[in-house]
Assembly symmetry: C2
Homo-oligomer: 330 residues x 2
């Protein structure tokens, strides 16, 4: 026992010694989701995939936050009801629980508040909360599941968004190669990737893209050194606070899984990571990365791709004769 | 050994005795998919879920043949590129391998031939085969997987559709309550459901809806006894054969999982199973089912819901800087 204890202490010391890298770094490894209410998350998963929350019966949360594709739609701006062209790039739902707030302009304080937005947005799912709830209430299997999860015989928007948010909390992407490196595996990333990380820090990218999500924890002006030229009408945080100083301030996006979440920026105008790094260098840092530096930073960014959520495609309970019918064309 | 042999014989006899129900019935239990090339099917699953096969980057096979919803979109007629209103109801992909041919008018001889259609249909996915292939070829992980599966360094439409078809072959829904009954479990269905089945046979529904798929194995005129009134312009098999006698002949749909595949008929005009049974009775059989009979037949039909395909949501390999970009809005 005593010897085992000593050995444990010895290895713990070693582990902390190597794990110490993490403690000294401005980026931390992602931890698995904890305190998940699994029954609630399972219900939320169904809702996330259920297009009956939209007017058309065709668009679900997963349409624009596609979990097969990094939690995004990989489009410049999204497609909504009647092929409406959205005003902004869909941010990834992966690791979104770590964001300081939701939406690019932070107008929702958390995942639950966010989840209600698109359902009733005429340019997105175009339903109403009343209609969406009446659809769910018409389906006995949903009624039973809400009752089981929330001990209620009445489905409310609060239940719906709470369940979706609980599912979204599970969507953390652990064990990226960079996190393996942070946790002590020196061979997890290459020399070029490591040099890219060094550049990422020394050039100042890290001042906004830091923490476990490598971003997501502050609002920053798009165009600090040089103005950012765009046709997008989005004004960012100013639309929420009403303050002129918040104009063009957007939530700094997470760079986790950035390899999968192209195209980039709130307007989706940067098609490639290389282009995004180049533009960020110039307008935020006043720095022109040369070709090698750009490639090294891009290589580093690709080490941030974590394990993607792995789950069984949910089977949705069927509508009944009483379920309000989808109306895609009127 | 000898005793074991006798016991085996005895139990085999018992099994055949009860299984004999199945042998005498015009509907057979669904068998699990066999001879599946699993590597090919895994690749096909990714392709089935990949919206990059569409011009917009937004529509995948799963958009209209949603495997969370009985392999359909549960819409009267489907939504295609730029919200195009499709001319016909999306048939289920579940058990589609058992169909005599594919599409309502049978214009594709098998699943592989079908799979190429929607990709290049301007009102559906609106891509071209050339573009879709060039998207796939630009993605190293796809190139590697095609190479592994088909031992080829060049991706062709034939490979793409073969893989999708192989995945679709796995989508059989075994072990419905009705199949359990067919296989000897007398308690698997209720008295009302059994009476519904008896009515289904005695009224003549069974003459078209028979076999393991309870349909799918013949073309029949919509409106045998009375003409079917519809605004749909679909003319059915005549569009393929050019023969006037084939006008309004459609492939008889499978009734497997019919509880999940609402709305019904090629034009999607029957919103409920009860309505569909009523209309079929009148126009195909010259029979008016009373309320009780209708309910019993509907109850029987709901016993045909089998185990839905269960698999992990596929994670798609990311595009690269060279991948042709989706163009949803131009």
């Amino acid at each position: 026992m005593k010897i085992t204890g000593l050995i444990t202490l010895f290895f713990t010391g070693l582990f902390l010694g190597s794990g110490g890298v993490s403690a000294q770094e401005p980026i931390q490894a992602i931890s698995p989701a904890t305190n998940i209410n699994h029954a609630e998350a399972e219900l939320g998963k169904k809702l996330f995939f259920d297009p009956r929350l939209s007017k058309s019966g065709f668009i679900s949360c997963n349409s624009c936050h596609n979990l097969s594709m990094g939690g995004t739609d990989n489009l410049k701006t999204s497609i909504g009801h009647i092929w409406h062209q959205g005003p902004i790039n869909s941010p990834t739902v992966l690791n979104a629980s770590m964001n300081i707030a939701q939406f690019w302009d932070g107008r929702a304080k958390d995942l639950q508040e966010q989840a209600g937005g698109p359902i009733a947005n005429p340019g997105e799912m175009a339903s109403t909360h009343v209609l969406a709830i009446s659809v769910l209430e018409s389906i006995p299997a949903y009624r039973a599941e809400f009752k089981q999860v929330f001990s209620t015989s009445k489905i409310t928007l609060d239940h719906v968004t709470k369940a979706i948010a609980e599912f979204e909390k599970t969507l953390v992407t652990v064990n990226s190669r960079f996190d393996q490196w942070l946790e002590g595996d020196k061979n997890a990333i290459t020399k070029d990737e490591l040099e890219g990380y060094a550049l990422f820090k020394s050039s100042g990218c890290i001042s906004c893209h830091n923490g476990a999500a490598v971003g997501g924890n502050s609002f920053q002006k798009m165009g600090v050194i040089k103005p950012y030229k765009t046709n997008s009408k989005a004004i960012g945080l100013a639309g929420v606070t009403g303050k002129e100083m918040d104009r063009f301030k957007f939530k700094v996006p997470t760079l986790r899984n950035v390899e999968l979440t192209y195209p980039y920026f709130h307007d989706g105008e940067a098609e490639t990571l290389s282009e995004a790094v180049d533009t960020m260098g110039q307008i935020q840092l006043g720095k022109t990365f040369n070709k090698k530096e750009n490639a090294q930073i891009v290589a580093f960014l690709k080490t941030l791709t974590g394990e993607q959520p792995s789950f069984t495609l949910p089977i949705l309970p069927p509508s009944t004769d009483k379920t309000p019918k989808p109306t895609p064309f009127n």
